[in-house]
């Protein structure tokens, strides 16, 4: 019969081995690839944690060898806690090591980090990107023993290098911001939003719900929808219409979605028609819409069409029965979501104005295959804002790619391989433009 001491040593060795193999795996990848500062810090913490766990486990066994009769349940528990922690960490390591800088739109991650840090109370936040096998973007909210100043964002591995698709990251950052605001309860606008939710529930839904579990479920729907609209608008305030365009592409809404589907709320998401209506409203108020509303693009037409949908067409069904009162309750919350987003994001109209002034020249640069990081205005050179470059590049992508291809030898705009190449190059020019702007700003800061 194995002694309790032997069982503990066996288990401790297993924990030690798990920790060491994770630690080594990370070190091997650090030698092969470069990572963002945030990921590098995460890995440093993994190394520190690994050394601490191995030391703690070894110490536990050393003490036990001196007093073998004291192999107690608490020692087993200690090992189980270590193992549980490293099992959780294990699931983050591979996606984080896959997200090296060759697999990421690096300037976008830097820009997103800077933008996120403008949110009140989040000046130290860092973004760790995880490449996931799922074809979805997620905000990954780790358990409490992780550093709360670290945002984990999951990006589909196939989309990592794609700049335009990766703009969706901003929506996922919105999830983090929402959860953090909820946790801190320090924002007046967030408290107002929570009140609006409570009121909508109490006045329109509460009386009709017979049980506590149904009430809790109903509150959950309102909360999930609130969060989605918040995340859309949060992304929009930082990115302008480029976010709406990329969301349309990501959800494959162009020509593929049926009329009824766009009006239907599911348990987690409000109807696409409402999401885009609110985005259009926000873009209009922030001064962006006037600059893109005449863009000859299906994306803009789709947004207009979705925004025109009647509220009475919105559908939310539960067990095959429509419950319009849910939609009505939610619509009463929407203005408070706008108010919250406006309260915590920088003044977007300045960005819209810069875009309006620079768009044409940025597009001209792109049409000539030139990175648009230095423009000429009134006899002096200036750098457009990165968000202006992103939006002008997206407009160019939607409307002028064939024009660029016509200027080049042996390139046909109907040839998908050719077209893919030029989309990739357009994305590369945009990223280079952002990177240049970041470098120029940094060198100016350093005098």
């Amino acid at each position: 019969m194995p002694s309790p001491q032997n069982s503990l040593i066996h288990e401790a060795t297993s924990v030690f081995r798990l920790v060491e193999s994770i630690d080594r795996y990370v070190a091997e990848h650090e030698n092969l690839f470069a990572y963002t500062d945030a990921t590098q810090d995460f890995f440093s913490d993994v190394h520190t944690g690994a050394a601490a766990t191995k030391g703690s486990v070894a110490e536990l066994i050393r003490k036990l060898s001196q007093t073998p009769e004291r192999a107690e349940l608490r020692h087993q528990r200690e090992l189980l806690i270590h193992k549980g922690h490293w099992r959780t960490l294990h699931t983050y390591i591979k996606p984080a090591t896959d997200a090296h800088t060759l697999n990421l739109p690096l300037p976008l991650i830097r820009m997103a980090t800077d933008d996120l840090r403008t949110t009140p109370g989040m000046s130290e936040i860092a973004i760790v990107v995880l490449l996931t096998p799922e074809l979805m973007f997620y905000h990954n909210m780790p358990q409490s023993h992780f550093d709360s100043e670290r945002v984990f964002v999951e990006v589909p591995y196939s989309q990592g290098p794609s700049f335009f698709a990766s703009l969706i990251i901003y929506h996922e950052l919105g999830h983090y911001v929402f959860e953090k605001l909820k946790m801190d309860q320090a924002s007046r606008a967030f408290v107002d939003l929570a009140d609006a939710q409570e009121q909508a529930f109490a006045q329109r839904l509460g009386p009709a719900l017979p049980s506590a579990s149904l009430s809790s479920w109903a509150k959950g729907r309102l909360d999930a929808w609130t969060k989605e609209i918040f995340c859309d608008l949060f992304a929009l305030r930082h990115l302008g219409p480029a976010f709406s365009f990329t969301l349309i592409d990501f959800l494959a809404l162009i020509g593929l979605m049926e009329e009824e589907t766009v009006s239907t709320f599911d348990q987690e998401h409000p109807a696409a028609a409402l999401r885009f209506r609110e985005q259009m409203t926000r873009l209009d108020k922030d001064g962006w819409w006037a600059h893109v509303s005449d863009l000859p693009s299906e994306h803009v037409e789709l947004m207009k069409r979705l925004a025109r949908k009647n509220e009475s067409d919105y559908i939310f069904e539960f067990q095959n029965t429509g419950i319009p009162v849910f939609v009505e309750a939610f619509l009463s919350i929407v203005p408070s979501i706008h108010a919250l987003v406006v309260a915590i994001t920088p003044h977007s109209p300045a960005a819209a104005e810069d875009f309006g002034r620079r768009r044409q020249e940025i597009e001209e640069c792109l049409l000539h295959g030139i990175v648009p990081s230095k423009l000429l205005a009134d006899g002096t050179t200036l750098s457009p804002k990165p968000v202006s470059m992103i939006n002008a590049a997206y407009c160019f992508y939607l409307t002028r790619l064939p024009e660029l291809m016509k200027k080049l030898e042996n390139q046909e705009d109907w040839n998908l391989e050719h077209r893919k190449n030029w989309v990739e190059r357009l994305e590369a020019w945009t990223m280079k433009g952002i990177e240049d702007a970041q470098l120029l700003a940094q060198s100016a800061d350093d005098g």
């Binding site: 000539h368 295959g369 030139i370």
Partner: protein, 234 residues
Amino acid sequence: MASEESLKHGVFARREIEDRLGLPAHDPKGLVITPLLDRKRALDLDSVDVRLGTYFLLPRSLPEAYFSPDRNTATSLHVKAHVPLGQYLVVPAHQTVLGSTLEFIKLPCDASGEVLTKSSIARTFIVVETAPWIHPEYRGCLTLEIANVSNTPVLLYPGRPIGQLILLHIEREHDPNKKIGSTYFGPIYPEAPPFKNPEEDLRGLGIRQTSVIRKGTIDRDGRFKLRDDRVNRK
């Protein structure tokens, strides 16, 4: 009497470089160099310093005993690497890596360019070599072949000046209707050369049969099976 314009020949001087930088980016005679960091020092009397970029193509150890320049070169010969600013790349003794300039460059329609190794760099036995000529209207980050010809490994720091761009006048007008070659149009990273398969290049010379090495295996019955039909060039 010849106009001032037609008298221009030889190397661009600083003033003309600055004039051209002041033209709109898409002006055919405009010069673009971005980001132009530390502009005062970067512009010399007759050249512009260019810095080392952060992306590299390193030579790969091939599984075969040979390298055949063909359509597979883009993925077979190099390994991509990113070295962020603040870090360094070690170039082993007698090895060459492909890097690129940090600056994106667009040449005017009436200028050719040349990249020379900065003299301070050359004196450390690092040579930016072999294909330094840049055609008029080229645009992109310049791919640099960086050879360490010394007997010791050398560290390269992205962001540091590595070369000098010299511009030379040529008599040439911009033709707005002429299509631009797409092969090296606007690269941001160092790029592998886009070879055709050899028989495609040689067909133009009337060569109908080309010897190639075929990659494959001999099965149990002694029959040859192609492992990768991309190299079947019949």
